[in-house]
Symmetry: C2
Subunit: 231 residues, 2 copies
DNA sequence: GAAACCAAATCGTCATACTTTTATGCCCAG
DNA sequence: CTGGGCATAAAAGTATGACGATTTGGTTTC
């Protein structure tokens, strides 16, 4: 998942710095300056910059340098950008945006999953729903989170739509983020868990309508909680 | 939008080759081989490969080479990847996936737009809806397409959700793709155009429900046409 | 036959030199 | 004083040779 090597180290410094606004729009870096600051060669700097350029966080121009791009240009779907932003200043804006996206996508994915899921996927959804109940009771937030992530990932995958399926990392980042930064109730809501079982049952029964509704309610709930925590 | 310089040339060759399946999953390239084949230096090859790596199209490993990754790993939201795939073999699969995504996102965006659009955006939507009517009558597909793209882009932007807004290029690529590859009626459907006016009116009136419904009908129609053309 | 070791292949990094583009400021003409 | 073109230099872009690090796969040895 992570990018390796020395360019990775550069990224891990520059990415968060830009995403958090510490390096504001229009800030200019010079390649040579970065070489010195991080004690690496030109090759490494250039490759790291290329990657940031791919994410549209910066643009490199001759005789000018490497300039931080306006937020509006950033590739906000890149999982790395999402993580960096969740760790930084506009965490709440990011979570709200992602919430709306989930609200649009996940119910649709659940409906498709009810139609197209494999038997194995249906089984695993049911099993995970049970696990969620158990770990919630045990207040074992760590494994609860992991099961929650898996649950949503399976629904997205079972939709048999590659675009939806690829949002699994994005959704995973949201769930991780709101747990990590304590933006949800300390005990998972029993009601939310019942809804996960409802989704699992509906998918097993092939009931697209019910799966979609239940999933919508889940995401709406998450969004409501978020708004509560953030005022 | 496009990546510049010599690495860009490499990308323009390798990207489509991979996206089209000409270089299948597991295929191995060596950096030195690419240097010779394209007559460029290591620097250039490495940067191009880094970019492809960022899109998760390839992975580079010591002592083994640059291997093409399974399709499931590709960053299917990257606009460049989308264009390459639309130009290649699995164009129809790609269009179907994107269609489902639009069906989830655009109605939601329209609803939000009805609530949050600025006065200017409302005006421009109305104006574009009129333009669509005119250019459809004139059978001027080129400008019709451009106005259609602008229309959907404005709705997405007016939703005031950055994730939705960033899907404008994706939607644009879809609209361009299906025109370019003649996957829509030669004359735009009068019904579809009336629906665009409906969206514009609903957004102007602040009627979220109606905007959402009209937009849903538009995208459903596009998806239906697609399925008709592709069997 | 298994474990340890060695060798070759390939990417990864560095240092340096050269090329290309372009912002900026100077100078000259109007 | 103003505007346009031209020279200059600054910065990224490209090329190249050398070396380092890692992984694969075979070979040797016990």
């Amino acid at each position: 998942m992570e990018i390796q090597g020395l360019p990775g180290r550069l990224l891990a410094e520059l990415g968060p710095a830009i995403a958090s606004g510490e390096l504001p729009e229009g800030a200019v870096l010079r390649a040579e300056e970065l070489e010195e600051r991080f004690g690496v060669s030109r090759t490494v700097v250039r490759e790291a910059v290329r990657i940031l350029e791919g994410m549209r966080l910066v643009a490199s121009r001759r005789r000018v340098g490497i300039t931080v791009q306006p937020k509006a240009d950033w590739d906000v779907f890149d999982p790395m950008v999402i993580r960096w932003r969740l760790a930084g200043a506009d965490r709440s804006a990011q979570l709200r945006s992602l919430g709306s996206l989930r609200l649009a996508v996940e119910p649709a994915a659940a409906a498709l999953a009810a139609r197209h899921a494999t038997d194995d996927e249906r089984r695993r959804l049911s099993a995970l729903a049970v696990e969620l109940t158990m770990t919630a009771r045990a207040a074992d937030l760590e494994t609860f989170l992991q099961h929650d992530i898996d649950f949503h990932a399976i629904v997205l995958r079972a939709s048999r739509n590659e675009m939806f399926a690829h949002l699994k990392d994005t959704v995973g980042a949201v769930l991780t983020g709101r747990t990590e930064y304590h933006l949800m109730p300390h005990q998972p809501e029993p009601y939310a868990i019942r809804l996960h079982r409802e989704v699992a049952e509906a998918v097993c029964a092939g009931d697209a309508e019910r799966a979609e509704q239940a999933m919508r309610t889940i995401v709406e709930g998450a969004l409501a909680e978020l708004n509560e925590q953030l005022g």
